[in-house]
């Protein structure tokens, strides 16, 4: 750390320090490759790096004190062992100079730390200029993202997977209509709680050179405030992209389905009422595209049903189920067919999800319906696995064709 610049500034820390910290801390974890980056020790954004640096600075103080105290204890235990002729040591009762110095010295170290801490608190709390604004809604158990200021009359609503341009500050507004969650992308920024009845904010800036065209950099994160049964499955993925890629992605997320897609969907929806929980962009009362409804939502005039995530562009994502499962035909088929199924692979997770009962006891709209129901065990229309496969395939096919 050169003394010319304050350590809390978000510039590359000396590689050496970072490596040493990593190795000391991850001694046991070394040699084990982590393919998914959800790591505060490998910051890839301005805020996360600040957090890491200030941690790092104190970390060494802590190592010095911790090792010092431990060695002193060990040393004393060995050196001052009771030996014949040594049973009656000199009785020291205290030492004022020592007492004062070991009060003042830590206090001084802490004061220095406090100065840096306070500065950083206020720096991070300020809303950055020219930021991309995203509203995050914590649901049980998934995330909804709404891009509010890229183009305020064409706002994208998506779920679980965040796309952001690199090098651009992002300003998050966090809200919840159920319980407390906490939104966190460790490699990019520290966490912030998502509180019902409050709007919390935080910022992050992904580093400039993380991605090239067509090659986004992927980061992982997850909910860090215990929020009920499937708290562990409430994850998120972030794709840091070039400005070009981001703009392209943004455009694709505004495109509604084709009339043919609407028609196919209607056949599934008639029996299983997908759209009573999931938002389908522009879905009209007659099952066809309703341009006005779509425009109202896109301009933020209307709100959407968001018991479950927006399905319109599910095919463009890499995961589903709170970003817990990779988006493959097999996984999705199993999910659609029998999400709460117990004990098989990853799907054991939703094992206590309420059943969809006859007579609307736990039907759509009642608060019990958190998580996907089991359509396989639907009392009125048990779903065949084949049909589940068709629905899954349909959803996968919502993937935007590569347009360049």
């Amino acid at each position: 750390m050169s003394s010319s610049r304050p350590i809390w500034r978000g510039r590359p820390v000396k590689k050496v320090t970072a490596t040493v910290v990593l190795c000391v801390l991850a001694a046991a974890g070394c040699g084990q490759s982590s393919t998914k980056q959800q790591n505060t020790l490998r910051p890839s954004g301005h805020i996360a790096r600040d957090d890491f640096h200030i941690f790092n600075a104190f970390f060494w103080v802590a190592v010095a004190v911790g090792v010092g105290v431990t060695l002193a204890t060990l040393f004393a235990a060995i050196k001052f062992r009771s030996r014949p002729g040594n049973e009656n040591p000199v009785q020291t009762h205290g030492n004022t100079v020592l007492e004062i110095s070991w009060t003042i010295l830590p206090a001084l170290i802490l004061m220095v730390m406090a100065v840096f801490t306070v500065k950083m608190i206020w720096d991070q709390a300020a809303k950055p200029k020219g930021a991309l604004e995203i509203t995050v809604t914590g649901k049980q158990w998934w995330w909804e993202f709404q891009y509010t200021n890229v183009d305020s009359s064409h706002q994208v609503i998506t779920a679980n997977e965040l796309h952001i341009p690199q090098g651009v500050p992002v300003w998050f507004t966090l809200k919840s209509d159920n319980v407390i969650h906490s939104f966190w992308i460790p490699s990019l920024a520290g966490k912030k709680d998502v509180m019902p009845g409050r709007f919390n904010h935080f910022q992050l800036i992904a580093d400039k050179n993380l991605a090239t065209d067509g090659h986004p950099k992927e980061f992982f994160g997850q909910c860090v405030e215990y929020c009920g049964l499937s708290h562990a499955d409430m994850r998120n993925r972030t794709f840091v992209e070039t400005k070009h890629d981001f703009d392209n992605w943004y455009k694709t997320q505004l495109k509604p389905w084709t009339p043919a897609q609407f028609a196919t969907f209607a056949t599934f929806n008639k029996t299983y009422q997908c759209s009573s929980c999931h938002y389908i962009q522009g879905l009209g009362a007659d099952g066809k595209y309703d341009a006005k409804a779509d425009a109202d939502v896109q301009s933020g005039k209307a709100t959407v049903i968001n018991v479950g995530p927006n399905l319109t562009h599910l095919g463009d994502r890499t995961s589903f189920g709170g970003a817990s499962f990779d988006l493959t035909l097999d996984n999705l088929t199993q999910w659609v067919w029998d999400a709460p199924r117990h004990g098989t692979g990853d799907f054991g997770k939703y094992n206590e999800c309420p059943k969809r009962g006859k007579g609307g006891t736990t039907g759509v709209g009642t608060p019990c319906l958190v998580g996907m129901p089991s359509f396989k065990n639907d009392p009125d229309h048990p779903m065949s696995k084949e049909l589940a496969g068709q629905i899954a395939q349909f959803l996968l096919d919502t993937k935007t064709k590569a347009s360049g």
Binding site: A26, A28, S34, T35, K36, N39, T40, F55, F58, A62, V65, G66, V69, T70, T73, A76, F80, R81, S82, E87, N88, P89, V90, T92, H93, G94, N95, L98, E99, W102, P106, L110, A114, V118, I121, A125, N178, V179, P186, K191, K192, D193, M195, G197, R198, H201, F220, V224, Y226, L229, H231, D233, G343, G345, G348, K349, N351, P354, P367, V370
Partner: protein, 636 residues
């Protein structure tokens, strides 16, 4: 007037005297139900807390088994959530606090030269409330689901009405009612300690001549009395929200989930010090004895304890730095938290100063005390890291925090408690715990503990959140989690060693003298095990570490010199104490306390008949308690 009279006759009848005669047996197994001897109550607290320690430990082992590998299938999410909630609740409310009360109960009167505590019956009431509260909480496993909202039960997750299904079981009701119940027990024992320590010190035992352990108990007693009310209020509000559809924590109707956090941590933070200060007290007794040196800067240690107690009230919101309370508040609470590190550090340095230059005997108790210093230091340092607010934003609610508070509460408190058990066992039971097994106990615990919790720092920084029943592959957490699980089982082995030791030592019965360690405080001046009346003659105290000064003096160079009279016990070993008047045992603490869990079930199931029965039992207990003859009337 007639109303009053009628109410009076139904509610406060004068029951026949015969039925109210106080029990007289002070030995045999039945006496344990009616005893009001602070020492027996202390043993009851300790034994019960050890049982709950095993329960909480088993929960931890299940948790570790589930996390042995990614996507583990040992437990379901629902079971996992119950287990981590009950693990935390158990260790805090049913192990940590009662253990402090156990040691305090047994030792405080002995250390201040008193024959009992100020309110012996209320003392026993506190124990029964604790026991029944614990059983009440655990009974929830049998009736459809244990608490599953985490040990701090954040609203609105815990407070949303049962029917809304956020936490669809009676678990959170059991939790809210159970913690209120345990709180009642804690407040009674807190009151008892405050009054005992303020009022019942032997002649000459000024406040500053009190042993540091007594000081720490005094501080936590005050903290308990003042910290429990806010959380009781919060839990009543949770209960009302869940069961009567009030809107204390429902943001949509004007309530505020953040209020709960303030009320909870206004209790919860002092609670942390309630847990750790007794550990510091124990260590402050053990270190000087086995170093044969007085506690370095004893007054500073006491005053830093007071400082911690005070500042502890001003830092509660550092548990809430990520909740969006704003930069001004986070600044304030961050700095206050840093400030608390200063008196804590001072203590550590004074302990080092105590052992430095001493004549150290590495008995098991001493090993645990030395282990405490190192482990607690690590826990303290990671605590300071949390006060750095931006750093906190990365660490809070991850395994880093789990590592931190286990270093404080396990590496700190439990190490001290284990040490305390080895140290005071001869005084309590008259025989030693085996030293060889004790050393195995220590070293396995030391290794197991560090193997379990040190890697948690790393996985936490690597982004693993706490309270997640599973994790995926590819995050780089797999190996560390395996190590942690192995460590947890080594800890279990170590705990097993302790229990084996207890049994083996009981069989072998290596008898201990009155003062086996060459102790410094008054409890070592009386026979082992301590007689029912404690002191034949109430001692007269002339100095800090008075008993020590009866045995030793210092020469001109400050070197220790044994006095020729060598350990006069002030006549504590002559006579059988039969002339000493002790309060008689009583049935009513048990009966009174029995009313509480019955009321508890009534509240949980909203069954007003059950509640009525509970209230009746309670009222009956109170009435009988009031009209019970005092011993004086029976004896004289």
């Amino acid at each position: 007037m007639t109303t009053v009279e009628r109410a009076m006759t139904t509610l406060a009848p004068a029951p026949p005297r015969a039925r109210l005669a106080r029990p007289t047996r002070t030995s045999g197994w039945t006496s344990w139900f009616t005893t009001i001897d602070h020492k027996k109550i202390g043993i009851l607290y300790g034994a019960t807390a050890l049982v709950f320690f095993v329960a909480g430990g088993c929960e931890a082992l299940l948790i570790r088994l589930q996390l042995w590998r990614p996507n583990g299938t040992v437990l379901t999410a629902a079971m996992y959530n119950q287990l981590f909630t009950m693990h935390g609740t158990t260790m805090v409310f049913l192990v940590g606090m009662p253990m402090a009360v156990a040691f305090g109960n047994y030792l405080v009167p002995l250390m201040i030269g008193a024959r009992d505590v100020a309110f012996p019956r209320i003392n026993m009431l506190g124990y029964w409330v604790f026991l029944f509260g614990g059983i009440f909480l655990y009974s929830s496993f049998l009736v459809g689901g244990a608490p599953n909202g985490g040990w701090f039960g954040y609203t609105p997750l815990t407070s949303m009405p049962y029917a809304n299904g956020f936490l669809p079981s009676h678990g959170p009701d059991f939790w809210a009612v159970g913690i209120i119940m345990l709180g009642i027990g804690s407040v009674t024992s807190g009151l008892n300690f405050v009054v005992t320590i303020l009022n019942m010190r032997a002649p000459g035992m000024t406040l500053l001549r009190m042993p540091v352990f007594v000081w720490m108990i005094f501080i936590i007693a005050i903290l308990t009395v003042f910290a429990l009310p806010p959380v009781t209020a919060a839990l009543i509000q949770v209960y009302m929200d869940r069961n009567f559809h009030t809107h204390f924590f429902d943001a949509a109707s004007g309530g505020d989930p953040l209020l709960y956090q303030h009320l909870f941590w206004l209790f919860g933070h002092p609670e942390v010090y309630i847990l750790i200060l007794p550990g510091m007290g124990i260590v402050s007794e053990v270190l000087p004895v086995f170093s044969r040196k007085p506690l370095f800067g004893a007054r500073v240690v006491v005053f830093s304890g007071i400082a911690i107690g005070f500042v502890g009230w001003g830092v509660w919101a550092h548990h809430m730095l990520a909740t969006g309370i704003g930069p001004a508040a986070t600044t304030g609470f961050g700095i206050a938290t840093m400030a608390i590190a200063v008196p804590t550090g001072v203590k550590i340095f004074n302990w080092l100063g105590t052992v430095w230059g001493g004549a150290i005997r590495l008995k098991t108790a001493m090993l645990f005390a030395l282990g405490f210093i190192a482990m607690f230091t690590i826990g303290g340092l990671s605590g300071v890291m949390h006060s750095i607010v931006p750093s906190n934003a990365q660490q809070t609610d991850t395994y880093f925090v789990v590592a931190h508070f286990h270093y404080v509460l396990f590496g700190g408190l439990m190490f001290a408690i284990f040490g305390g058990l080895y140290y005071w066992w001869p005084k309590v039971f008259g025989h030693f715990l085996d030293e060889r097994l004790g050393k195995i106990n220590f070293w396995t615990l030391f290794v197991g503990f560090n193997l379990t919790f040190f890697p948690m720092h790393i996985v936490g920084l690597q982004g693993m959140p706490r309270r997640t029943y599973t994790y995926g592959t590819g995050f780089g957490w797999d190996t560390l989690n395996k190590l942690e699980t192995i460590g947890a089982f080594i800890i279990a082995l170590s705990a097993l060693t302790l229990f084996v030791n207890i049994i083996v030592s009981r069989v072998r019965k290596v008898e201990a003298s009155a003062d086996p360690w060459d102790g410094r405080t008054l409890e070592w001046s009386i026979p082992s095990p301590a007689p029912a009346y404690n002191f034949l003659e109430l001692p007269e105290v002339h100095a800090f570490d008075d008993f020590w000064h009866r045995k030793y003096t210092e020469d001109d160079e400050g070197r220790l010199v044994r006095l020729p009279s060598g350990g006069s016990d002030g006549g504590q070993h002559e006579g059988d104490g039969s002339n000493i008047h002790l309060p008689s045992p009583s049935y009513w603490p048990l009966v009174l306390a029995l009313g509480l869990p019955i009321m508890g079930y009534g509240f949980v199931y909203k069954n007003w008949w059950t509640l009525g029965v509970g209230v009746f039992v309670l009222m009956f207990g109170i009435t009988a308690w009031t009209f019970e003859p005092s011993t004086a009337e029976v004896d004289h």
